[in-house]
Subunit: 283 residues, 2 copies
Amino acid sequence: MRIGIVGLGLIGGTIAKSLNKKHIIEAYDIDFNAVDYAKKNNIIDKGYDDLKAFLANNQIIFLCLYPKNIAPFFKENIDVIKHQTLFIEISGIKTSLIKEIESLNINHFDIVYTHPIAGRETIGIQGSDKAIFKKANFVIIDNHRNCKTNVDIVHKLAVDMGFRNINNISAEYHDKIIAYTSQLTHVISLALVNSFDQHEVLCNYTGDSYRDLTRIANINIDLWTDLFINNKSMLLEKITDFEKQIKLFKNALENNDIIELETIMKKAKRKHNIFLKEKKNES
Amino acid sequence: MRIGIVGLGLIGGTIAKSLNKKHIIEAYDIDFNAVDYAKKNNIIDKGYDDLKAFLANNQIIFLCLYPKNIAPFFKENIDVIKHQTLFIEISGIKTSLIKEIESLNINHFDIVYTHPIAGRETIGIQGSDKAIFKKANFVIIDNHRNCKTNVDIVHKLAVDMGFRNINNISAEYHDKIIAYTSQLTHVISLALVNSFDQHEVLCNYTGDSYRDLTRIANINIDLWTDLFINNKSMLLEKITDFEKQIKLFKNALENNDIIELETIMKKAKRKHNIFLKEKKNES
Protein backbone atom coordinates (compact mmCIF):
# COMPACT_ATOMS: atom_id res chain seq x y z
CA MET A 1 0.00 0.00 0.00
CA ARG A 2 1.02 3.60 -0.35
CA ILE A 3 0.98 5.21 3.09
CA GLY A 4 1.12 8.96 3.63
CA ILE A 5 2.30 10.66 6.81
CA VAL A 6 1.57 14.26 7.78
CA GLY A 7 3.96 15.32 10.55
CA LEU A 8 7.37 13.68 10.76
CA GLY A 9 8.00 14.05 14.47
CA LEU A 10 8.84 11.27 16.90
CA ILE A 11 5.68 9.29 16.20
CA GLY A 12 5.37 10.13 12.50
CA GLY A 13 9.01 9.12 12.06
CA THR A 14 8.49 5.92 14.01
CA ILE A 15 5.44 5.04 11.89
CA ALA A 16 7.54 5.57 8.76
CA LYS A 17 10.37 3.39 10.09
CA SER A 18 7.91 0.68 11.18
CA LEU A 19 6.17 0.46 7.80
CA ASN A 20 8.81 1.36 5.22
CA LYS A 21 9.93 -2.15 4.45
CA LYS A 22 6.36 -3.31 3.77
CA HIS A 23 4.76 -0.26 2.17
CA ILE A 24 5.57 2.81 0.10
CA ILE A 25 5.89 5.77 2.44
CA GLU A 26 5.24 9.36 1.40
CA ALA A 27 5.38 12.26 3.83
CA TYR A 28 4.72 15.93 4.36
CA ASP A 29 5.86 18.15 7.21
CA ILE A 30 5.56 21.89 7.65
CA ASP A 31 9.29 21.75 8.47
CA PHE A 32 10.95 20.59 5.29
CA ASN A 33 14.13 19.74 7.21
CA ALA A 34 12.29 16.79 8.76
CA VAL A 35 11.17 15.60 5.31
CA ASP A 36 14.67 16.07 3.97
CA TYR A 37 16.17 14.12 6.88
CA ALA A 38 13.67 11.29 6.34
CA LYS A 39 14.41 11.13 2.62
CA LYS A 40 18.19 11.24 3.04
CA ASN A 41 18.04 8.47 5.64
CA ASN A 42 15.76 6.29 3.50
CA ILE A 43 13.00 6.46 6.11
CA ILE A 44 10.47 7.53 3.46
CA ASP A 45 10.20 6.90 -0.25
CA LYS A 46 8.97 10.34 -1.21
CA GLY A 47 8.84 13.70 0.53
CA TYR A 48 6.62 16.69 -0.28
CA ASP A 49 6.99 20.39 0.39
CA ASP A 50 3.56 20.98 -1.10
CA LEU A 51 0.68 19.75 1.04
CA LYS A 52 -1.83 19.89 -1.81
CA ALA A 53 0.30 17.65 -3.97
CA PHE A 54 0.73 15.28 -1.02
CA LEU A 55 -3.03 15.15 -0.41
CA ALA A 56 -3.70 14.59 -4.10
CA ASN A 57 -1.39 11.58 -4.18
CA ASN A 58 -2.26 9.89 -0.89
CA GLN A 59 -5.42 8.16 0.21
CA ILE A 60 -4.29 6.52 3.45
CA ILE A 61 -2.74 9.14 5.68
CA PHE A 62 -1.39 9.02 9.23
CA LEU A 63 -2.09 12.43 10.73
CA CYS A 64 0.66 12.96 13.29
CA LEU A 65 -0.09 16.43 14.60
CA TYR A 66 -0.53 17.86 18.08
CA PRO A 67 -4.24 17.79 19.06
CA LYS A 68 -4.61 21.58 18.76
CA ASN A 69 -3.45 21.51 15.13
CA ILE A 70 -5.81 18.76 13.95
CA ALA A 71 -9.11 20.64 13.54
CA PRO A 72 -7.29 23.59 11.86
CA PHE A 73 -5.66 21.09 9.49
CA PHE A 74 -9.03 19.73 8.39
CA LYS A 75 -10.62 23.19 8.18
CA GLU A 76 -7.84 24.52 5.97
CA ASN A 77 -7.67 21.52 3.69
CA ILE A 78 -11.24 20.22 3.60
CA ASP A 79 -11.67 21.23 -0.04
CA VAL A 80 -8.46 19.64 -1.30
CA ILE A 81 -8.77 16.35 0.57
CA LYS A 82 -9.80 13.64 -1.87
CA HIS A 83 -13.03 11.70 -1.53
CA GLN A 84 -12.69 8.51 0.49
CA THR A 85 -9.32 9.44 1.93
CA LEU A 86 -8.62 7.54 5.15
CA PHE A 87 -6.98 9.62 7.90
CA ILE A 88 -5.50 7.76 10.84
CA GLU A 89 -5.28 10.15 13.76
CA ILE A 90 -2.80 9.18 16.49
CA SER A 91 -2.84 11.68 19.36
CA GLY A 92 -3.15 10.93 23.06
CA ILE A 93 -6.59 12.43 23.73
CA LYS A 94 -9.88 11.67 22.04
CA THR A 95 -13.20 12.92 23.47
CA SER A 96 -12.69 16.68 23.09
CA LEU A 97 -10.83 16.23 19.80
CA ILE A 98 -13.52 14.08 18.19
CA LYS A 99 -16.21 16.51 19.35
CA GLU A 100 -14.31 19.38 17.75
CA ILE A 101 -13.79 17.50 14.48
CA GLU A 102 -17.42 16.31 14.33
CA SER A 103 -18.57 19.92 14.38
CA LEU A 104 -16.85 20.33 11.00
CA ASN A 105 -19.43 17.98 9.41
CA ILE A 106 -16.92 16.09 7.32
CA ASN A 107 -18.63 13.71 4.91
CA HIS A 108 -16.36 12.93 2.03
CA PHE A 109 -13.49 11.28 3.88
CA ASP A 110 -13.02 9.08 6.94
CA ILE A 111 -11.01 9.62 10.13
CA VAL A 112 -10.10 6.64 12.29
CA TYR A 113 -8.95 7.81 15.71
CA THR A 114 -6.20 5.70 17.22
CA HIS A 115 -3.58 5.84 19.95
CA PRO A 116 -0.28 4.05 19.65
CA ILE A 117 0.48 3.91 23.39
CA ALA A 118 4.19 4.28 23.00
CA GLY A 119 6.58 7.16 23.15
CA ARG A 120 9.98 8.28 24.21
CA GLU A 121 11.32 11.28 26.11
CA THR A 122 12.70 12.89 22.95
CA ILE A 123 11.19 15.00 20.19
CA GLY A 124 11.55 14.96 16.44
CA ILE A 125 12.20 12.32 13.81
CA GLN A 126 15.82 11.98 14.97
CA GLY A 127 14.54 10.22 18.09
CA SER A 128 12.21 7.90 16.18
CA ASP A 129 12.86 4.20 16.48
CA LYS A 130 10.70 1.29 15.40
CA ALA A 131 11.57 -0.49 18.66
CA ILE A 132 9.18 1.97 20.36
CA PHE A 133 6.17 0.19 18.81
CA LYS A 134 7.47 -3.36 19.22
CA LYS A 135 4.95 -5.36 21.27
CA ALA A 136 3.33 -2.12 22.47
CA ASN A 137 -0.38 -1.37 22.88
CA PHE A 138 -2.52 0.18 20.17
CA VAL A 139 -6.03 1.50 20.60
CA ILE A 140 -8.65 2.09 17.91
CA ILE A 141 -11.53 4.32 18.98
CA ASP A 142 -15.07 3.00 18.29
CA ASN A 143 -16.79 5.44 15.96
CA HIS A 144 -20.04 4.65 14.13
CA ARG A 145 -19.01 7.02 11.33
CA ASN A 146 -16.06 4.85 10.35
CA CYS A 147 -16.19 2.60 7.34
CA LYS A 148 -15.57 -0.98 8.50
CA THR A 149 -13.01 -1.57 5.72
CA ASN A 150 -10.99 1.41 6.97
CA VAL A 151 -10.98 0.12 10.53
CA ASP A 152 -9.70 -3.21 9.18
CA ILE A 153 -6.93 -1.41 7.27
CA VAL A 154 -5.89 0.42 10.44
CA HIS A 155 -5.85 -2.84 12.37
CA LYS A 156 -3.65 -4.43 9.73
CA LEU A 157 -1.27 -1.45 9.73
CA ALA A 158 -1.03 -1.60 13.54
CA VAL A 159 0.03 -5.25 13.22
CA ASP A 160 2.52 -4.29 10.50
CA MET A 161 3.99 -1.64 12.80
CA GLY A 162 4.72 -4.27 15.44
CA PHE A 163 1.98 -3.57 17.99
CA ARG A 164 0.95 -6.62 19.99
CA ASN A 165 -2.33 -5.61 21.62
CA ILE A 166 -4.85 -3.88 19.47
CA ASN A 167 -8.06 -2.94 21.28
CA ASN A 168 -11.19 -1.15 20.16
CA ILE A 169 -12.65 1.08 22.88
CA SER A 170 -14.75 4.21 23.25
CA ALA A 171 -13.23 7.69 23.29
CA GLU A 172 -14.45 8.26 26.86
CA TYR A 173 -12.95 5.01 28.13
CA HIS A 174 -9.70 5.80 26.35
CA ASP A 175 -9.44 9.24 27.93
CA LYS A 176 -10.29 7.88 31.35
CA ILE A 177 -7.70 5.13 31.34
CA ILE A 178 -5.01 7.24 29.63
CA ALA A 179 -5.55 9.94 32.26
CA TYR A 180 -4.31 7.29 34.69
CA THR A 181 -1.68 5.27 32.82
CA SER A 182 -0.08 8.11 30.92
CA GLN A 183 -1.12 11.57 32.06
CA LEU A 184 -1.06 11.05 35.84
CA THR A 185 2.35 9.36 35.54
CA HIS A 186 3.71 12.46 33.81
CA VAL A 187 2.20 14.78 36.43
CA ILE A 188 3.80 12.66 39.16
CA SER A 189 7.19 12.65 37.49
CA LEU A 190 7.15 16.45 37.12
CA ALA A 191 6.09 16.93 40.74
CA LEU A 192 8.75 14.51 41.97
CA VAL A 193 11.53 16.37 40.16
CA ASN A 194 10.22 19.77 41.26
CA SER A 195 9.99 18.80 44.92
CA PHE A 196 13.79 18.90 45.32
CA ASP A 197 16.30 21.70 44.93
CA GLN A 198 19.78 20.25 44.66
CA HIS A 199 19.75 18.25 41.48
CA GLU A 200 23.48 18.74 40.93
CA VAL A 201 24.32 16.33 43.77
CA LEU A 202 21.51 13.86 43.20
CA CYS A 203 23.36 11.53 40.86
CA ASN A 204 25.53 10.36 43.76
CA TYR A 205 22.56 9.20 45.79
CA THR A 206 20.09 7.74 43.32
CA GLY A 207 19.31 4.19 42.35
CA ASP A 208 17.06 2.69 39.69
CA SER A 209 13.84 3.86 41.32
CA TYR A 210 14.61 7.58 41.03
CA ARG A 211 15.88 7.16 37.48
CA ASP A 212 12.73 5.27 36.43
CA LEU A 213 10.28 7.65 38.09
CA THR A 214 11.83 10.77 36.60
CA ARG A 215 12.68 9.64 33.06
CA ILE A 216 9.46 11.10 31.64
CA ALA A 217 9.99 14.48 33.35
CA ASN A 218 11.96 15.38 30.23
CA ILE A 219 8.62 16.26 28.69
CA ASN A 220 7.59 17.76 25.34
CA ILE A 221 6.01 20.92 26.73
CA ASP A 222 3.91 21.98 23.73
CA LEU A 223 2.44 18.54 23.21
CA TRP A 224 1.72 17.84 26.86
CA THR A 225 0.13 21.22 27.60
CA ASP A 226 -2.28 20.33 24.84
CA LEU A 227 -2.88 16.80 26.16
CA PHE A 228 -3.34 17.91 29.79
CA ILE A 229 -5.72 20.77 28.97
CA ASN A 230 -7.82 18.64 26.61
CA ASN A 231 -8.33 15.88 29.14
CA LYS A 232 -8.70 18.20 32.09
CA SER A 233 -11.69 16.73 33.92
CA MET A 234 -10.54 13.10 33.65
CA LEU A 235 -7.02 14.03 34.71
CA LEU A 236 -8.18 16.15 37.67
CA GLU A 237 -10.19 13.16 38.87
CA LYS A 238 -7.14 10.88 38.66
CA ILE A 239 -4.90 13.41 40.41
CA THR A 240 -7.47 13.62 43.22
CA ASP A 241 -7.61 9.80 43.52
CA PHE A 242 -3.82 9.74 43.69
CA GLU A 243 -3.68 12.53 46.29
CA LYS A 244 -6.04 10.50 48.48
CA GLN A 245 -3.70 7.51 48.35
CA ILE A 246 -0.68 9.66 49.22
CA LYS A 247 -2.69 11.09 52.13
CA LEU A 248 -3.60 7.59 53.36
CA PHE A 249 0.08 6.67 53.46
CA LYS A 250 1.07 9.94 55.09
CA ASN A 251 -1.54 9.56 57.82
CA ALA A 252 -0.50 5.98 58.51
CA LEU A 253 3.13 7.04 58.81
CA GLU A 254 2.31 10.04 61.00
CA ASN A 255 0.42 7.72 63.36
CA ASN A 256 3.09 5.00 63.29
CA ASP A 257 0.25 2.79 62.09
CA ILE A 258 2.24 -0.22 60.95
CA ILE A 259 -0.87 -2.30 60.29
CA GLU A 260 -2.17 0.37 57.89
CA LEU A 261 1.22 0.77 56.19
CA GLU A 262 1.33 -2.98 55.65
CA THR A 263 -2.24 -2.95 54.33
CA ILE A 264 -1.33 -0.24 51.81
CA MET A 265 1.72 -2.19 50.64
CA LYS A 266 -0.16 -5.50 50.46
CA LYS A 267 -2.91 -3.87 48.42
CA ALA A 268 -0.41 -2.34 45.99
CA LYS A 269 1.46 -5.63 45.61
CA ARG A 270 -1.77 -7.52 44.95
CA LYS A 271 -2.98 -4.99 42.39
CA HIS A 272 0.40 -4.70 40.71
CA ASN A 273 0.72 -8.47 40.48
CA ILE A 274 -2.63 -8.64 38.66
CA PHE A 275 -1.21 -6.17 36.15
CA LEU A 276 2.09 -8.08 35.83
CA LYS A 277 0.29 -11.42 35.45
CA GLU A 278 -1.98 -10.13 32.68
CA LYS A 279 1.03 -8.58 31.00
CA LYS A 280 2.89 -11.89 31.16
CA ASN A 281 -0.09 -13.81 29.77
CA GLU A 282 0.14 -11.67 26.69
CA SER A 283 3.80 -12.21 25.97
CA MET B 1 40.74 -11.22 52.31
CA ARG B 2 38.28 -13.45 54.09
CA ILE B 3 34.86 -11.73 54.01
CA GLY B 4 31.95 -12.83 56.17
CA ILE B 5 28.31 -12.14 55.43
CA VAL B 6 25.46 -12.32 57.93
CA GLY B 7 22.15 -12.48 56.09
CA LEU B 8 22.06 -14.00 52.62
CA GLY B 9 19.09 -12.12 51.20
CA LEU B 10 19.03 -10.07 48.02
CA ILE B 11 21.81 -7.71 49.11
CA GLY B 12 23.86 -10.26 51.09
CA GLY B 13 23.70 -12.59 48.10
CA THR B 14 24.68 -9.81 45.72
CA ILE B 15 27.64 -8.86 47.93
CA ALA B 16 28.77 -12.50 47.88
CA LYS B 17 28.45 -12.72 44.08
CA SER B 18 30.28 -9.39 43.65
CA LEU B 19 33.24 -10.38 45.82
CA ASN B 20 33.58 -14.14 45.47
CA LYS B 21 36.11 -14.11 42.68
CA LYS B 22 38.44 -11.77 44.57
CA HIS B 23 37.98 -12.87 48.18
CA ILE B 24 37.10 -15.88 50.31
CA ILE B 25 33.43 -15.62 51.25
CA GLU B 26 31.93 -17.16 54.37
CA ALA B 27 28.32 -16.72 55.34
CA TYR B 28 25.70 -17.26 58.00
CA ASP B 29 21.94 -16.94 57.72
CA ILE B 30 19.23 -17.82 60.22
CA ASP B 31 17.63 -19.69 57.32
CA PHE B 32 20.06 -22.47 56.49
CA ASN B 33 18.34 -23.02 53.11
CA ALA B 34 19.82 -19.70 51.93
CA VAL B 35 23.30 -20.78 53.07
CA ASP B 36 22.82 -24.16 51.44
CA TYR B 37 21.67 -22.55 48.18
CA ALA B 38 24.71 -20.22 48.22
CA LYS B 39 27.11 -23.09 48.85
CA LYS B 40 25.60 -25.36 46.18
CA ASN B 41 25.73 -22.55 43.62
CA ASN B 42 29.34 -21.66 44.49
CA ILE B 43 28.30 -18.19 45.62
CA ILE B 44 30.15 -18.62 48.92
CA ASP B 45 33.17 -20.64 49.92
CA LYS B 46 31.92 -21.72 53.33
CA GLY B 47 28.54 -21.71 55.02
CA TYR B 48 27.76 -21.84 58.74
CA ASP B 49 24.71 -22.98 60.68
CA ASP B 50 26.40 -21.90 63.92
CA LEU B 51 26.65 -18.13 64.36
CA LYS B 52 29.26 -18.41 67.12
CA ALA B 53 31.57 -20.43 64.90
CA PHE B 54 31.03 -17.93 62.10
CA LEU B 55 31.85 -14.98 64.38
CA ALA B 56 34.93 -16.76 65.70
CA ASN B 57 36.28 -17.26 62.18
CA ASN B 58 35.45 -13.90 60.58
CA GLN B 59 36.84 -10.46 61.27
CA ILE B 60 35.37 -8.48 58.34
CA ILE B 61 31.64 -8.98 58.26
CA PHE B 62 28.90 -7.51 56.08
CA LEU B 63 25.82 -7.30 58.28
CA CYS B 64 22.87 -7.64 55.88
CA LEU B 65 19.91 -7.52 58.23
CA TYR B 66 16.74 -5.46 58.31
CA PRO B 67 17.25 -2.34 60.47
CA LYS B 68 15.05 -3.64 63.30
CA ASN B 69 17.20 -6.77 63.66
CA ILE B 70 20.55 -5.01 63.87
CA ALA B 71 20.60 -3.77 67.49
CA PRO B 72 19.20 -7.13 68.72
CA PHE B 73 21.98 -8.89 66.77
CA PHE B 74 24.68 -6.87 68.53
CA LYS B 75 22.98 -7.20 71.94
CA GLU B 76 22.74 -10.97 71.65
CA ASN B 77 26.24 -11.51 70.33
CA ILE B 78 28.27 -8.74 71.95
CA ASP B 79 30.19 -11.21 74.11
CA VAL B 80 31.12 -13.60 71.31
CA ILE B 81 32.15 -10.95 68.76
CA LYS B 82 35.93 -10.90 68.52
CA HIS B 83 37.99 -7.84 69.34
CA GLN B 84 38.63 -5.59 66.35
CA THR B 85 36.00 -7.21 64.18
CA LEU B 86 34.86 -4.87 61.41
CA PHE B 87 31.12 -4.90 60.74
CA ILE B 88 29.90 -3.28 57.53
CA GLU B 89 26.26 -2.37 57.98
CA ILE B 90 24.29 -1.87 54.74
CA SER B 91 20.69 -0.85 55.44
CA GLY B 92 18.76 2.06 53.93
CA ILE B 93 18.38 4.24 57.05
CA LYS B 94 21.04 5.58 59.35
CA THR B 95 20.25 8.27 61.96
CA SER B 96 17.86 6.31 64.17
CA LEU B 97 19.80 3.09 63.70
CA ILE B 98 23.16 4.59 64.69
CA LYS B 99 21.57 6.25 67.72
CA GLU B 100 20.16 2.89 68.81
CA ILE B 101 23.48 1.10 68.32
CA GLU B 102 25.50 3.84 70.06
CA SER B 103 23.40 3.31 73.17
CA LEU B 104 24.89 -0.19 73.40
CA ASN B 105 28.34 1.32 74.14
CA ILE B 106 30.25 -1.04 71.93
CA ASN B 107 34.00 -0.62 72.35
CA HIS B 108 35.77 -3.74 71.24
CA PHE B 109 34.74 -3.82 67.58
CA ASP B 110 33.97 -1.33 64.81
CA ILE B 111 30.84 -0.76 62.74
CA VAL B 112 31.08 1.13 59.46
CA TYR B 113 27.63 2.20 58.31
CA THR B 114 27.16 2.12 54.55
CA HIS B 115 24.41 2.13 51.96
CA PRO B 116 24.79 0.39 48.63
CA ILE B 117 22.10 2.41 46.78
CA ALA B 118 20.98 -0.44 44.62
CA GLY B 119 18.23 -2.98 44.82
CA ARG B 120 15.73 -4.95 42.90
CA GLU B 121 12.03 -5.67 43.30
CA THR B 122 12.67 -9.23 44.45
CA ILE B 123 13.59 -10.80 47.76
CA GLY B 124 16.06 -13.49 48.71
CA ILE B 125 19.39 -14.72 47.44
CA GLN B 126 17.73 -16.23 44.34
CA GLY B 127 17.18 -12.70 43.04
CA SER B 128 20.73 -11.57 43.75
CA ASP B 129 22.80 -10.46 40.79
CA LYS B 130 26.14 -8.70 40.74
CA ALA B 131 24.84 -6.49 37.91
CA ILE B 132 22.79 -4.67 40.59
CA PHE B 133 25.96 -3.05 41.99
CA LYS B 134 27.64 -2.37 38.66
CA LYS B 135 28.35 1.38 38.38
CA ALA B 136 25.87 2.07 41.20
CA ASN B 137 26.23 4.54 44.09
CA PHE B 138 27.70 3.61 47.46
CA VAL B 139 27.62 5.73 50.58
CA ILE B 140 29.85 5.51 53.65
CA ILE B 141 28.54 7.31 56.71
CA ASP B 142 30.96 9.67 58.48
CA ASN B 143 31.46 8.41 62.01
CA HIS B 144 34.20 9.65 64.34
CA ARG B 145 34.19 6.28 66.11
CA ASN B 146 35.41 4.46 63.00
CA CYS B 147 39.01 3.38 62.64
CA LYS B 148 40.41 5.02 59.49
CA THR B 149 41.91 1.72 58.29
CA ASN B 150 38.47 0.12 58.44
CA VAL B 151 36.90 2.92 56.40
CA ASP B 152 39.64 2.37 53.81
CA ILE B 153 38.88 -1.37 53.73
CA VAL B 154 35.19 -0.63 53.16
CA HIS B 155 36.05 1.79 50.37
CA LYS B 156 38.21 -0.82 48.69
CA LEU B 157 35.50 -3.48 49.01
CA ALA B 158 32.94 -1.09 47.47
CA VAL B 159 35.27 -0.67 44.49
CA ASP B 160 35.71 -4.45 44.31
CA MET B 161 31.92 -4.89 44.26
CA GLY B 162 31.65 -2.69 41.19
CA PHE B 163 30.31 0.56 42.68
CA ARG B 164 31.29 3.65 40.75
CA ASN B 165 30.51 6.54 43.09
CA ILE B 166 31.61 6.18 46.65
CA ASN B 167 30.73 9.15 48.83
CA ASN B 168 31.27 9.85 52.52
CA ILE B 169 28.38 11.78 54.06
CA SER B 170 26.70 12.29 57.42
CA ALA B 171 23.88 10.06 58.62
CA GLU B 172 21.47 13.00 58.64
CA TYR B 173 22.31 14.02 55.08
CA HIS B 174 21.97 10.41 53.97
CA ASP B 175 18.54 10.04 55.51
CA LYS B 176 17.36 13.34 54.07
CA ILE B 177 18.41 12.61 50.51
CA ILE B 178 17.33 8.95 50.63
CA ALA B 179 13.91 10.06 51.89
CA TYR B 180 13.64 11.79 48.53
CA THR B 181 15.44 9.55 46.03
CA SER B 182 14.36 6.21 47.41
CA GLN B 183 11.61 6.40 50.01
CA LEU B 184 9.38 9.02 48.39
CA THR B 185 9.64 7.19 45.07
CA HIS B 186 8.34 4.01 46.73
CA VAL B 187 5.48 5.89 48.43
CA ILE B 188 4.53 7.39 45.04
CA SER B 189 4.64 4.05 43.28
CA LEU B 190 2.38 2.46 45.92
CA ALA B 191 -0.09 5.36 45.76
CA LEU B 192 -0.14 5.28 41.96
CA VAL B 193 -0.99 1.58 41.89
CA ASN B 194 -3.60 1.94 44.64
CA SER B 195 -5.38 4.83 42.95
CA PHE B 196 -6.90 2.55 40.31
CA ASP B 197 -9.27 -0.39 40.56
CA GLN B 198 -9.20 -2.38 37.34
CA HIS B 199 -5.69 -3.71 37.10
CA GLU B 200 -6.80 -6.73 35.07
CA VAL B 201 -7.39 -4.56 31.98
CA LEU B 202 -4.47 -2.18 32.45
CA CYS B 203 -1.90 -4.11 30.46
CA ASN B 204 -3.77 -3.21 27.25
CA TYR B 205 -3.48 0.50 27.86
CA THR B 206 -0.07 1.07 29.39
CA GLY B 207 3.19 2.26 27.90
CA ASP B 208 6.69 2.55 29.32
CA SER B 209 5.80 5.32 31.75
CA TYR B 210 3.29 3.28 33.75
CA ARG B 211 5.61 0.27 33.77
CA ASP B 212 8.54 2.36 35.02
CA LEU B 213 6.60 4.21 37.71
CA THR B 214 5.06 1.07 39.18
CA ARG B 215 7.96 -1.40 39.03
CA ILE B 216 8.95 -0.72 42.64
CA ALA B 217 5.37 -1.17 43.92
CA ASN B 218 6.29 -4.85 44.20
CA ILE B 219 7.79 -3.96 47.54
CA ASN B 220 9.38 -6.01 50.33
CA ILE B 221 6.80 -5.20 53.01
CA ASP B 222 8.81 -6.16 56.13
CA LEU B 223 11.89 -4.27 55.05
CA TRP B 224 10.10 -1.15 53.88
CA THR B 225 7.84 -0.85 56.93
CA ASP B 226 11.06 -0.75 58.90
CA LEU B 227 12.69 1.80 56.56
CA PHE B 228 9.64 4.08 56.41
CA ILE B 229 9.03 4.09 60.17
CA ASN B 230 12.68 4.71 60.99
CA ASN B 231 12.96 7.69 58.69
CA LYS B 232 9.54 9.03 59.50
CA SER B 233 10.19 12.76 59.97
CA MET B 234 12.43 13.12 56.89
CA LEU B 235 9.99 11.16 54.76
CA LEU B 236 6.95 13.09 55.97
CA GLU B 237 8.73 16.30 54.98
CA LYS B 238 9.45 14.97 51.49
CA ILE B 239 5.88 13.72 51.04
CA THR B 240 4.63 17.18 52.00
CA ASP B 241 6.99 18.86 49.50
CA PHE B 242 5.75 16.48 46.83
CA GLU B 243 2.09 17.07 47.70
CA LYS B 244 2.67 20.81 47.26
CA GLN B 245 4.02 20.25 43.75
CA ILE B 246 1.06 18.04 42.82
CA LYS B 247 -1.24 20.75 44.15
CA LEU B 248 0.52 23.43 42.07
CA PHE B 249 -0.06 21.40 38.94
CA LYS B 250 -3.66 20.63 39.87
CA ASN B 251 -4.46 24.30 40.50
CA ALA B 252 -2.89 25.35 37.21
CA LEU B 253 -4.92 22.74 35.35
CA GLU B 254 -8.15 23.63 37.15
CA ASN B 255 -7.64 27.28 36.15
CA ASN B 256 -6.60 26.42 32.56
CA ASP B 257 -3.43 28.33 33.45
CA ILE B 258 -1.28 27.34 30.50
CA ILE B 259 1.53 29.72 31.48
CA GLU B 260 1.79 28.06 34.89
CA LEU B 261 1.63 24.54 33.40
CA GLU B 262 4.46 25.47 31.06
CA THR B 263 6.44 26.99 33.94
CA ILE B 264 6.08 23.75 35.91
CA MET B 265 7.22 21.66 32.96
CA LYS B 266 10.13 23.99 32.12
CA LYS B 267 11.28 23.89 35.73
CA ALA B 268 11.15 20.08 35.84
CA LYS B 269 13.02 19.77 32.54
CA ARG B 270 15.72 22.18 33.71
CA LYS B 271 16.16 20.41 37.04
CA HIS B 272 16.06 16.95 35.48
CA ASN B 273 18.63 17.94 32.89
CA ILE B 274 21.01 19.04 35.65
CA PHE B 275 20.65 15.55 37.13
CA LEU B 276 21.12 13.84 33.75
CA LYS B 277 24.15 15.99 32.91
CA GLU B 278 25.86 15.24 36.22
CA LYS B 279 25.05 11.57 35.74
CA LYS B 280 26.56 11.63 32.27
CA ASN B 281 29.70 13.40 33.48
CA GLU B 282 30.30 10.46 35.74
CA SER B 283 30.05 7.76 33.14
